[in-house]
């Protein structure tokens, strides 16, 4: 890193998302001008938990982690690139001696700043210092009720410490959230866990699937099987609804999806125009390892996706010019394979989360962790499961290899999947900007069945409804609803009830 950037000399005009949208919300210009909106930074690999599913195999710090001067300079460069949100992770971020300085510098740039933590020994002193430096949010990782959480996290009592940290962070005015990884045993814990985190003050709950990387490859029994999505996804939809009514907003992570019957509720928090539109690695997001390694996403395999190191070149040059960073901007449906290659959603989905699919099968572009796919297979009496065939090496973010097995659902009648022509997959034209970015395609939900469809459809391929007629009925429903909202607002307002 050589280019000095002053704190008040950011080249970009300030960007404000639309009212009601989070700062992490992607604007069109974020895609066309290549803005790394959200950066997730492993500031140290030191950790005081021993998680059985840890992808980065955290524990000891890396031998060559960035110095304070290098780290502060990196924050300045990210601000100049237009970054709006920074999440510090580890390892355990607060085991890095200068973590408070990093928070302070990020906040001086006006970047929304949060920390994701396991919360073991997150003392009042640490919390107070972070709040004083301007920390805005604290996310605590909780993977189930106490027995499961403590077992998976490898430290007895870690659940109690996590819940206690939530309460103390809430009392200090921080935005408090929980991350939960879903593995083979987690689903049964979710309803009660939701009650407990609401009681502890959480307002947002991010759900992710455990991914076959690092320690999780050593403990494959922790992984959810793809066919288990048939039970997990309806449960998540129910909890989303119940949580919303109780002040907890579920945020599904990038490896939950895709385009099944609940897609319209996952992404837009009530705005159905928002839907999954492909892995954002290297398009609007950056991941940083503690030694300055830059990737398009914090979770991608180091061996496959290292785009550069800020000790060798600026993060701006890595971001704009590295091939390992730009793969997501340039890829097309031809690199997809297996079921995903001929899927109806191939061109907008691009096989979901790159991290999940590539870590599992050794090659991106085919992702069995997909609700749409699991449902389609189930209609033909089929399901998929994964079996480990190769261990992962001992390094951070190392991947092994799993075999994907398609088998009959016990007791079900099997009918073969239809042959689908790869050439018949709909490909949306993309206009590339001078910077090299492009807007992802936009779909709309069918007004009759809520499944997303391409804009050119006249008959819904999922429910066979006449798209125009269904849309007209929906418009009428919407107008009636809006009229009721207006009338109820007027009446309650006259009664002096705050609306």
């Amino acid at each position: 890193m050589t280019d000095a950037i002053s704190l008040d000399a950011d080249a970009r005009a300030p960007v404000t998302p639309p009212a009601g949208k989070p700062v992490r919300y992607r604007l069109e210009r974020d895609y066309t001008e290549l803005v790394p909106v959200h950066v997730v930074w492993e500031v140290t690999l030191a950790c005081n938990l021993k998680c059985q599913h840890c992808g980065s195999r955290a524990g000891r710090p890396r031998s060559d982690e960035l110095t304070t001067v290098e780290a502060l300079e990196l924050i300045d460069h990210l601000a100049a690139l237009g970054t709006r949100e920074l999440t510090l992770i580890g390892g355990e971020a607060y085991l890095r001696r200068d973590w408070i300085e990093l928070i302070r510098r990020s906040r001086q740039h006006g970047i929304r700043t949060g920390v994701q933590t396991g919360a073991r020994n997150l003392t009042d002193k640490r919390l107070d210092e972070a709040v004083e430096a301007g920390l805005q949010g604290l996310g605590v990782s909780i993977d189930g009720l106490p027995d499961l959480h403590d077992r998976v996290r490898g430290v007895p009592g870690s659940y109690d410490q996590a819940i206690d940290a939530l309460k103390r962070a809430k009392a200090r005015g921080l935005a408090v959230s929980v991350n939960t990884q879903i593995g083979a045993e987690t689903a049964a814990h979710l309803p009660e866990l939701m009650d407990r985190i609401i009681a502890a003050g959480a307002t947002h709950w991010q759900i992710q699937l455990t991914v076959a990387m690092g320690n999780a490859v050593d403990n494959p029994q922790l992984l959810l099987q793809p066919y288990q999505l048939l039970e997990v996804m309806p449960l998540l939809a129910r909890l989303y609804d119940e949580g919303q009514a109780r002040g907890l907003l579920m945020v599904v992570g990038n490896n939950i999806g895709y385009f099944g019957p609940y897609e319209h509720i996952w992404r837009g928090f009530g705005d159905e125009a928002d839907h999954w539109n492909g892995c954002s690695a290297g398009q609007t997001g950056i991941g940083i390892e503690a030694d300055g390694t830059i990737k398009g996403c914090p979770s991608l395999a180091t061996s496959l996706y290292t785009a550069g190191n800020v000790r060798d070149m600026t993060v701006a040059d890595i971001w704009r010019h590295s091939e390992k960073m730009s793969f997501g901007r340039l890829r097309d449906v031809d690199e997809l394979w297996g079921y995903c290659r001929t899927c109806y959603y191939a061109d907008v989905c691009r096989a979901g989360c790159t991290w999940t699919s590539e870590s599992l099968l050794g090659k991106r572009g085919n992702n069995p962790y997909c609700h749409h796919r699991a449902l389609d297979l189930a209609r033909h009496g089929l399901r998929e499961r994964v079996v480990k065939i190769k261990d992962a090496p001992p390094q951070s973010f190392a991947v092994g290899e799993f075999a994907l097995i398609t088998e009959a659902i016990p007791g079900a009648e099997v009918t073969p999947l239809p042959d689908r022509d790869p050439a018949a997959v709909h490909v949306a034209p993309r206009q590339r900007s001078a910077a090299g970015g492009a807007l992802p395609p936009s779909l709309k939900p069918c007004a009759a069945c809520a499944h997303y469809i391409w804009p050119h459809e006249t008959t819904c391929p999922h429910c066979q409804a006449d798209v125009a007629q269904a849309e007209a009925r929906r418009q009428a429903d919407t107008e009636r609803r809006r009229a009721l909202i207006a009338e109820a607002t007027r009446v309650l307002g006259k009664l002096g009830v705050g609306v």
């Binding site: 909106v37 307002t203 709950w205 992570g253 996403c297 009664l495």
Partner: protein, 56 residues
């Protein structure tokens, strides 16, 4: 366009929106009002019924 949550902290500044959320909020307000002030509509119906009975 939708934010894509990486494995990091949840989007803590996201808020629910849309008709369902608004209807729910209005329902909660209406229920709290009824709890505090009583249901004038139901009261009016009962008054009319009793008046009608007396006029028989």
């Amino acid at each position: 366009m939708t934010p894509i949550p990486l494995y990091g902290q949840a989007i803590t500044d996201a808020i629910a929106s849309g008709d369902l959320d608004q209807l729910r909020k209005l329902q909660a307000l209406a229920e709290s009002h009824l709890e505090e002030h009583g249901d004038v509509g139901a009261l009016l119906t009962q008054l009319k019924v009793e008046i009608a009975k007396l006029k028989r």
